[in-house]
């Protein structure tokens, strides 16, 4: 440390600068360093954030692709032809007869009728 101060002293003496001038230069250098530091911090933060954003966007794209693929696979596996084939293999078959039965219900006078429904349309 002593050697450093000695070296600075020596430099100042050799340059024959007044102390005020040296102080101005020191302030200027400090400010320049500060500005450079702020710039570097900002730049690196922007770069980091953008890298992260890009990585997230890539992940999102990948997820979208995977979702689309799964959706398509599910649709294929549940397609009408596949379902019929699978149902047949499980022993199901088409109904030979469909019976309609009357279900006794209480019908309120104010219940909407089919005709009302059609008028509303």
């Amino acid at each position: 440390m002593n050697r450093l101060t000695e070296w600075i002293d020596h430099g100042l003496k050799r340059a024959r600068w007044p102390a005020s001038r040296a102080a101005r230069i020191a302030v200027f250098l400090s400010l320049a360093l500060l500005v450079a530091d702020v710039y570097l911090v900002q730049s690196s933060q922007i770069a980091t954030t953008n890298r992260r954003a890009e990585a997230m966007r890539r992940a999102l794209t990948e997820l979208r692709r995977e979702n689309a693929l799964r959706l398509s696979r599910i649709a294929e596996l549940t397609s009408a032809a596949r379902m019929l084939e699978r149902a047949g293999a499980l022993g199901f078959q088409a109904a030979e007869i469909v019976e309609f039965v009357r279900v006794p219900v209480v019908i309120h006078d104010d219940a909407p009728s089919l005709q009302d429904d059609r008028r509303e349309r």
């Binding site: 770069a47 995977e66 693929l69 398509s72 649709a75 294929e76 019976e99």
Partner: protein
């Protein structure tokens, strides 16, 4: 200062000045003299404009079953300039053959073939699935471009293909909904300019604000996958049993115009559209909207509707039926060439007498008759949201090609042309208390988080060709006609209104005898019609008549669809639908 130090200082000054001058000279060379060249180099290597193609909108049936979706696929191309760059110090071609060829499933000969020519970019492989695409990316070869893209898939195969159409490799929809809603489905391709580093990765300081193009809009259809499947099954069965060359079936809700199923055979698989394009491209055409035919006796519904609505007749009005009737110098005869004496309107419809229909149009007169024909929508497009709809053609007295005999032949559906969709829409107006509604296929359009009704989805009244009273009277006539003469169209428990049609097929030199187009259009339950079905079989071989070939198909389809759609019978006690 000693001389020695002075000389050193001078030498240093000269050195620094010379170095500075060299720097300034280089600066001028780079920034001024070679400015354009280096700007070009920057644009070539650092800046890249990328088209981001959005995922195409999907197509769903009314219950949320996927009918058209997208799968991620990868294509691999090679940058020829970088591949042959001698500065890389490695044999890139050998590396391509050794490392990439096995992943891409290509032989060294195939790679050599693909690299032939002098283009700067050669496509090596397309349609790679996700696993192989990722393996190609993991190779880490900077001169290989692995690009993902969306491939259109139709999980249900050929089901509803005529309605859907197809989407080709040039990113364009053809036929059906794919073409009609191309704008909505496609979304908007984004062009993004990106700066890249020496490894071609995006510069982190300049990530584009929106790397993803929003996907195209999804379509939710009125089509019901199960209904469509049943209809197609029955259509294929009908072709086998009747020996018909082709055919189609349309099922629709007469109250709203919502098309529940639209099938035609033979069809095509949109997943393999290139095969069909190479062999039989005519199969892409949807005959329900894009091909016209002479509807034949089914058209008598329109003639009788006009006669009833104009007050010319009632169901009990009789006329004396002769075997033939001369109209405009042309003899028009009944299909059986027999005279039936005094017959009512109900009998006329039940026996499908051409003379009766011609008598009605003659008594109405051309202006009245053609006004009704036009009011039912003939000669104009229905406005359905499917690509390639044609209007059909009806000659009127205003046309120079119109003859008086047309008034007679038109009454029983000959000498005019219509699409099957026009025909079913016209009969649906009778089922719908005289209100003609516009048929449609798309129920809603989903754009991001926004769900909106398609412009065609609302029930749009296209006119009131007849009064509600006339519609009900005519429905009653059609129910009686089916009950008397077409029992094969009856569905137990349901009152069915309908009409058969047997039409000759026009060719440039007259009619293509003995071939016919056999059809049946019917709806039910007659008390509250909720389903209308049109069956058309082209050139059946077992019988030329609609009553023998098309009516039983209607019966089978209706009997299966009523329970599936939850439509209760008119008389539950009598209903036992097979």
């Amino acid at each position: 200062m000693p001389d020695r130090s002075r000389r050193r200082l001078l030498a240093l000054t000269v050195g620094i000045t010379a170095f500075g001058l060299i720097l300034i000279a280089q600066l001028i060379r780079l920034q001024v003299v070679e400015h354009d060249y280096w700007i070009g180099q920057r644009e070539k290597w650092q800046s890249e404009t990328r088209d981001i193609v959005p995922e195409r909108g999907r197509i769903w049936d009314r219950n949320g079953v996927l009918l058209a979706g997208n799968e991620p696929r990868y294509q691999v191309a090679v940058d020829r300039t970088a591949l042959t760059d001698s500065r890389s110090g490695s044999d890139n071609l050998a590396m391509l053959i050794r490392d990439a060829a096995p992943v891409l499933g290509l032989t060294s000969e195939e790679i050599s073939q693909k690299l032939a020519g002098d283009q700067t970019r050669s496509l090596l492989k397309t349609d790679l699935d996700a696993a192989l695409g990722e393996r190609a990316m993991d190779l880490g070869l900077s001169w290989i471009e692995v690009e993902p893209y969306w491939k259109r898939v139709y999980p249900e195969g050929a089901l509803a293909a005529a309605v859907l159409g197809f989407y080709n490799a040039e990113r364009k929809g053809y036929y059906g909904l794919e073409a009609y809603y191309q704008g909505e489905l496609a979304g908007h391709t984004l062009s993004v300019e990106m700066d890249r580093d020496v490894w071609r990765d995006p510069l982190p300081l300049n990530v584009p604000p929106d790397l993803f193009a929003p996907p195209g809009a999804d379509l939710v259809l009125t089509i019901d996958r199960t209904v469509q499947m049943i209809v197609e099954e029955e259509l294929f069965r009908a072709l086998e049993t009747s020996g018909a060359a082709s055919g189609l079936i349309i099922a629709m809700d007469p109250r709203t115009g919502a098309i529940l199923a639209m099938a035609n055979a033979p069809g095509f698989d949109p997943n393999k559209y290139t095969d069909t394009a190479a062999s039989e491209p005519a199969r892409f055409v949807n005959p329900a909207v894009s091909e016209v035919y002479e509807p034949g006796s089914v058209f008598k519904i329109v003639t009788l509707a006009a006669a009833l609505d104009s007050g010319l007749v009632t169901p009990d009005t009789t006329y004396v039926d002769t075997a033939c009737l001369e109209v405009g110098g042309r003899s028009l005869c009944n299909w059986d060439r027999e005279s039936h004496g005094a017959v009512t309107m109900v009998e006329m419809m039940a026996k499908s007498l051409n003379v009766g229909a011609a008598t009605l149009s003659m008594r109405m007169g051309a202006p009245t008759f053609y006004n009704y024909v036009s009011a039912f929508g003939f000669g104009n497009r229905t406005g359905v949201d499917l690509q390639g709809e044609v209007p059909g053609h009806v000659r009127t007295p205003a046309d120079v090609t119109w003859y008086e005999s047309d008034l007679g032949t038109n009454a029983f559906g000959q000498g005019l042309s219509a699409t099957p969709l026009q025909m079913i829409a016209a009969v649906a107006a009778v089922a719908n208390d005289g209100v003609l509604v516009r048929p449609h296929v798309v129920k809603t359009i989903i754009e991001g988080d926004r769900v909106r009704s398609a412009r065609h989805a609302r029930t749009v009244e296209a006119g009131h060709p007849i009064s509600p009273e006339t519609a009900r009277i005519l429905t009653d006539v059609l129910v009686k006609a089916v009950a008397r003469e077409v029992p094969q169209a009856q569905v137990p428990g349901y009152r069915i209104a309908g009409k058969t049609g047997t039409a000759q097929i026009p060719i440039p030199a007259g009619y293509d005898d003995p071939w016919t187009i056999a059809s049946f259009v019917g709806y039910g339950p007659a008390t509250d019609p909720r389903l209308i079905i049109l069956v058309r079989l082209d050139r059946p071989t077992i019988s030329p008549y609609g009553s023998t070939t098309a009516a039983p198909v209607f019966q089978r389809v209706a009997a299966r669809l009523f329970p599936v759609l939850g439509i209760p019978p008119d008389s539950p006690d009598a209903a036992s639908a097979p």
